[in-house]
């Protein structure tokens, strides 16, 4: 079965610090990769996705993620975080032959102003 591992459960940063959230998955086949975000009091929403092509994908609000196939990783990055980035971030994987999105346990990011 597929699984997704997120390295940190809680991250605390000051504004303007750089962010990298780790995500590794276990699945031998071709996958689509996602980061979802849940801001306080809001629904889960899509941040960015990777299907194919350029392994560096850009999403909303200045976030980007890099797919490294050899490492089964899809780490999320942002050069300079803002207080409004405080949220919980979920990495998710979907095998291309299936329809089931498998989520990691999530990383709670708190940005101090």
């Amino acid at each position: 079965a597929q699984s997704v591992s997120q390295h940190n459960h809680h991250v605390i940063l000051s504004e303007a610090a750089s962010l990298e959230l780790g995500c590794n998955y276990s699945y031998g086949g071709t996958v689509n990769l996602f980061w979802y975000v849940q801001y306080p009091g809001q629904h889960l929403q899509l941040l960015l996705k990777y299907f194919s092509g350029d392994p560096l994908v850009k999403g909303i609000k200045g976030f980007e993620a890099e797919f490294i196939k050899s490492k089964f990783s899809f780490n999320l990055r942002k050069p300079s975080v803002q207080w409004s980035d405080t949220a919980e971030y979920f990495c998710a994987v979907n095998p291309v032959e299936g329809n089931k999105l498998v989520f990691g346990a999530g990383t709670i990011l708190r940005v101090k102003s």
Binding site: F34, L46, G106
Partner: protein
């Protein structure tokens, strides 16, 4: 509607009771998913509908859980003989089908179930 609507937003019930949770997806979204999220965990897949049929129900934990989508739109998740371990937020999501939409889910706000 504009988004995925879930009712009730909160449900408190007693152990052993029957519960129904409703999901109204985005109009035109053929795919509908139910997930369960426990405290400190990511969403856990329960069941996926494509149209009216359950295309994948491999995530339903046992036969106390059942879901229907009779007309290919609204879906109801049904839990019989509730147990305290069923307490969680039940999330519904919908999407279009086919690449590149697979995995691009629009989530509802969830139904928080508490079993006393």
């Amino acid at each position: 509607g504009a988004g995925v609507s879930q009712t009730p937003s909160n449900k408190v019930t007693e152990k052993g009771k029957y519960v129904e949770l409703r999901c109204d997806p985005i109009s035109g979204h053929t795919a509908l998913y139910w997930y369960r999220q426990s405290l400190g965990q990511g969403p856990e897949f329960l069941i996926y509908f494509q149209g009216t049929g359950a295309a994948d129900d491999s995530g339903l934990p046992n036969d106390r859980f059942f879901a229907v989508r009779p007309e290919g739109s609204v879906s109801t998740l049904k839990i019989q003989r509730t147990e305290r371990g069923d307490s969680a937020v039940y999330l519904c999501a919908s999407s279009l089908i086919g690449q590149p939409q697979v995995g691009v889910l629009t989530f509802g706000a969830g139904s928080r179930l508490t079993v006393l």
